[in-house]
């Protein structure tokens, strides 16, 4: 089986709420797949299960054929999965540079003993990884922000730095939870460009949750639609756009073209 990420019959409930029920999704290497759906459809919950933050009640999740259903989040990261959060989760007291260097954590090795005697192994490792981080900084055009503490940055830039932190991990699978939420049109276009570049030039598989239909239909290879925890459609952007169930789910909410703002949690 060639899928990079395969999700099989995954369900999750919180108390009485069935957040995700029996969802299947396969994402091939280098694909950019979007997951859309109305508020509360279960999109974030699905992502949380892939990154190991929650474990599903039922079903199976595999990465490159390896079962990761019950693996701890930090081990999943080490397997090459990185993500961003719907409500930005940067390390607010740290600089942009440190946030991105932290993104390299799983690619580095130095422990306490190597670090205290910095001049030697640890320094060489830091410098080597700093170079990779500088590539990310150039790519995202945030050269002026290196020494800024992330908590002091405007919202749009925080979203960009958070993408940078995930990309710095050099993930094979990148999970993005509403990376354009709350952005203005210009910021959205920049972000869409970055995501496309990560996907196409760096060959990173991307799973994208996004409410902006214009962007989703523009950049996705395939789109999966969730509604009330279930996958109601899947296909190319054109197929999904024409699907009567999708139209119904969205019309029922009167949110076509103007999806609701992401709810704060």
């Amino acid at each position: 089986m060639s899928a990079q990420l395969s999700i099989h019959g995954v369900s999750k409930s919180f108390g009485g709420v069935q957040a995700v029920s029996g969802v299947d999704l396969e994402v091939g290497p280098d694909e950019l797949v979007s997951v859309i759906g109305p508020n509360g459809a279960g999109k974030t919950s699905l992502l949380n299960m892939v990154s190991g933050f929650y474990h599903p009640d039922r079903g199976r999740i595999a990465l490159d054929g390896q079962d990761i259903t019950r693996v701890a989040p930090y081990r999943i990261a080490a397997l090459g999965v990185a993500r961003t959060f719907q409500n930005i989760a940067l390390f607010k007291g740290m600089t942009v540079l440190d946030n991105l260097m932290l993104g390299r954590h799983v690619r580095m090795r130095s422990g306490v003993l190597a670090s205290i005697a910095y001049w030697g192994l640890a320094q060489r490792e830091e410098v080597r990884h700093r170079r990779r981080v500088e590539d990310v900084i150039d790519f995202l055009r945030i050269q002026d922000l290196r020494r800024r503490v992330t908590g002091s940055l405007p919202y749009g830039l925080q979203k960009r730095v958070e993408l940078g932190r995930a990309v710095a991990l050099e993930p094979k699978l990148l999970l993005l939870d509403e990376p354009m939420g709350g952005m203005n049109q210009e910021e959205k276009e920049d972000m869409a460009r970055f995501i496309l570049d990560v996907n196409e030039e760096w060959g990173t598989t991307v799973v994208l949750i996004e409410h902006d239909m214009g962007v989703v239909m523009d950049i996705s290879d395939r789109v999966a639609v969730l509604d009330m925890g279930q996958k109601i459609a899947e296909g190319t952007p054109d197929e999904v756009r024409a699907d009567p169930r999708v139209i119904k789910a969205y019309l029922g909410e009167k949110k076509v073209g103007h999806p609701a703002r992401p709810a704060a949690r």
Binding site: P73, Y74, A89, K92, G93, H105, S115, E126
Partner: protein, 356 residues
């Protein structure tokens, strides 16, 4: 000091990632180190060395330890003095009872404290914030109890063990200047280690846990491992600091010097000096060591004017009230402490006379 950064192009990442990337900072630090090692031991009075500098250095090391745990890794501890006690008794027992070499005894004290720290760190994955603070408070009492009640450790009801004559590599450490140099050397080396630790991979992992533990874990940081590591390293520093205090300051290990009051005092040092700052650990320690002296001098002056109004009782309480007030002040007004004030001043001077 003006325009010192203008036009500096950092030619390599190694240079950019140095501890002091700016030449001027390097010069200032170099001068301070030369004075501390080469001038002070020869000119400072016995009182200055023993009353101020030795306790400031030893408490600065303790504060660095607590800063690693609380300021960097974000785990509050009210039991820091307990780890200092373990280190003090560990080192004194190794040195006095078993006759181990001095530095090895310090290491033993540090490792003993680190071992206790590992045990305390174990539940930190489940127990967070307020509950963790209460757990460390319990540790404080348990350790105090253990030291006073286990004869093998404390040696009896008063739990006081004298330190025999200190000898380092054949040289007797029997004068104020020599004790000061022993403290200074130990503290400087461990400060450099701490600096290297907090500015690289492990330190970033700690700060990430402090700022957002969920995101830290999603980015690949095993929370248990790194929280435990913070407890272990922090306690090691506390242990060596406790050993320094007993060897160089009191010349005895005495449980009275490692009570809850001391835990709170060290916490006050990092709040006043600056959370997540090594410089702040020094500033806070100096401040808290100087405070009672300054207050008592002021009180004596007031007492002279007002007659018998200022009793020793008033004096002791005034110290606590002012200490508490300062902690509140810094928590509310400047959570990053003296270290931040210092940086603000430096930035101001750097841009002077054209601040923007």
């Amino acid at each position: 000091m003006i325009y010192r950064e203008a036009g500096i192009y950092r030619s390599s990442y190694a240079a950019d990632m140095a501890i002091f990337p700016l030449a001027l900072d390097r010069i200032v630090v170099g001068v301070v180190v030369v004075i501390a090692f080469g001038v002070i031991p020869f000119v400072a009075s016995g009182y200055l060395l023993k009353g101020l500098l030795i306790p400031t250095l030893a408490y600065a090391l303790a504060a660095i330890g607590l800063n690693i745990l609380t300021g960097y890794a974000g785990q509050l501890s009210l039991g820091h003095a307990a780890f200092m006690a373990v280190g003090a008794y560990g080192a004194v027992i190794a040195y006095g009872r078993y006759g181990w070499p001095l530095l090895l005894s310090f290491l033993v004290g540090g490792l003993a404290a680190a071992a206790v720290g590992a045990v305390v760190g174990l539940p930190s994955l489940r127990i967070k914030g307020f509950y963790l603070a209460v757990t460390t408070l319990a540790v404080q009492y348990i350790v105090e109890w253990g030291i006073t009640h286990v004869r093998w450790i404390g040696g009896g009801v008063y739990a006081t063990i004298d330190v025999p004559d200190i000898v380092l590599l054949g040289a007797p450490i029997d004068t104020g200047p020599r004790r000061y140099l022993l403290c200074l050397g130990t503290v400087v080396v461990l400060t450099v280690f701490a600096k290297n630790l907090v500015r690289t991979r492990v330190g970033r992992a700690w700060m990430a846990i402090r700022d957002r533990d969920v995101a830290a874990e999603i980015m690949g940081i095993g929370l248990l491992r790194y929280k435990m590591l913070a407890f272990v390293v922090s306690s090691f520093y506390a242990g060596v600091a406790g050993a320094l205090i007993s060897f160089c300051f009191y010349q005895a290990a005495n449980i009275e010097e490692y009570t809850l009051t001391i835990s709170i005092r060290v916490l006050g040092m990092i709040i006043i000096g600056g959370m997540g700052s090594l410089l702040g650990s020094y500033l806070g320690a100096a401040f808290v060591v100087l405070l009672p002296i300054a207050i008592s001098n002021a009180m004596v002056a007031v007492g002279r004017v007002s007659g018998g109004l200022v009793t020793t009782d008033v004096r002791a309480n005034a110290e606590l009230v002012i200490f508490g007030g300062l902690i509140l002040f810094f928590l509310i007004v400047e959570p990053l402490g003296l270290a931040r004030l210092w940086k603000t001043l430096k930035d101001y001077l750097r841009l002077w006379p054209f601040p923007y």
